[in-house]
Symmetry: C2
Subunit: 302 residues, 2 copies
């Protein structure tokens, strides 16, 4: 059960961190960018960069989140680098989150679910397209856009994270609208998530259907933590977006569990601020983040 596996990793490393491999080509050191004039060239260098980062981090962080936008923007070759990154991270034992925020009507959602969490049929064969442990999804279309993902979660021990309260400044525009019953939209979405997860609750009490809850919105996070006892949180917004350990503390329960905190730019581009090689700087930044989080959240335990 994938959320159990993720939590095992978090407890083992005492680190509820997810490194975001949002590897914009511009983030690479100048010598790695030199002479590149094609998407194929970009894809090769981006994968090299990711591979070295994964090699440097997999013993101290339990998971990575790979944001598909930063690969798709380099065309077909970029998607090849995406596939290779997912596979390499999986090989190294990391829990891999495909950050794709997919959403569509049932028949199409079923294709997306198979793409990231299952297998695609080709005549009598079943092949994998972009295999990950989790994929992020957007619930604006309601249950029949989410059910095909939950089905793959049940079948293949996979998971999803549904957008509930996102980390960006204007997230409140729609998500904080107040309904006629006095509750905000994000809480309603959170309750749907809790319900969607009912069939997949693991040994730690969390389901395979998690929620995206931004570190930048502590009030909402606190309300959601209480309202959604079986929902594990993917928490973006730490670092570059302005979130910090104190702000996201309320996402975690008394046993130090409840979520995984993403950091992308703060790890990938640490070398630009602190010097050294990109991978040494990334490791230092990841260690500093682990210390910051564990100091604030406390010991993570069963």
């Amino acid at each position: 059960m994938i959320t159990d596996k993720l939590i095992d990793g978090i407890i083992g490393m005492q680190n509820p961190t997810c490194v975001g491999l949002d590897t914009l080509f511009d983030y690479l050191p100048d010598d790695m960018k030199e002479g590149v004039t094609t998407f194929e060239g970009v894809a090769e260098r981006v994968f090299d960069f990711n591979k070295k980062l994964i090699d440097t981090l997999y013993d101290i962080v339990p998971s990575v989140k790979v944001q598909i936008a930063y690969y798709e923007m380099y065309g077909v070759a970029g998607m090849k680098a995406y596939e290779e990154t997912l596979k390499y991270a999986t090989e190294k034992g990391l829990v891999v989150i495909a950050d794709a925020k997919r959403n569509d009507i049932g028949s199409t959602a079923s294709c997306y679910a198979k793409t990231f969490l299952g297998e695609t049929k080709v005549n009598n064969l079943s092949l994998k397209a972009f295999p990950a442990d989790y994929v992020t999804v957007n619930g604006y279309l309601g249950t029949d856009g989410i059910a095909p993902f939950v089905e793959e979660c049940e079948k293949n021990e996979k998971g999803i994270f549904v957008l509930v309260k996102t980390s960006n400044p204007s997230s409140g525009e729609l998500q904080n609208l107040v309904l006629e019953n006095g509750k905000p939209v994000y809480e309603y979405m959170g309750n749907l998530v809790e319900k969607w997860g009912e069939s997949t609750i693991g040994q730690y009490g969390y389901s395979a259907v998690g929620a995206v809850v931004g570190a930048t919105h502590p009030t909402e996070a606190s309300l959601l933590r209480k309202a959604l006892p079986h929902t594990f949180f993917l928490i973006p917004g730490y670092g570059a977006q302005g979130g910090n350990a104190e702000m996201l503390k309320s996402c975690f329960g008394a046993n130090g569990l409840g979520g995984v905190v993403n950091n992308s730019r703060g790890i990938l581009t640490a070398y630009k601020k602190n010097g050294g090689t990109y991978y040494e700087a990334a490791r230092k930044a990841a260690i500093a983040m682990q210390e910051d989080l564990s100091k604030t959240i406390g010991v993570m335990k069963k």
Copy 2:
């Protein structure tokens, strides 16, 4: 201005239709599927199928919508077929809608916007990843997740369609929730869309920021048509999903303009029901749809 171009095509052909190239491998005739055992094989056949369909339809339909899920599920090779399909449809003069329902925080939305509507920087070069005329987007994250798309629309004469009231059965779960001011969520989203489009209104009075409004929900469509005078609609749900011409009539104004109606399965798989080659059957189905729509909507004019 892209919505003007789309409307010119609609008026010229008296056909407010968009053919959905949701080309599931299983939709192909048996002889095209035979012997295929890899994603590369699938991609080649799917593109051949699309190419022939485009050749058969481009003189009678003004636009195509290419649903990315049906390509991504065939991995990197599938994405190559996606790129080729977008490019070939563009070459033939069709208005091309990338149906990708992208959504993310501002910095990431900016990558998606460049991927589909603009150019990606690689050192001193600018290259195109998956170039289309429109991309569909999901507005759950609010203005700062949409603004980067609008920026590319302004810069490159491109457009977007934002999910407002989707065609699927459970779309009401979130979209029809009533806010404390007595209005439903979908209307609030629609009003945001109208506002996002303000800077891009063309000669027909419609902006480059359109709305997805399902043919399956006539009451909501009618309300939205009145509330959003400058918003052009992308109308899914005709045919296989249960929508018909009468149900979507209220999306159109007195001059027969106001939206473009998508049909995917009803065109792609017409041969399975009516016999003949897939492309002849598709052309007949497209002609029947044109007659059905124009009879109900009336003459489309300036």
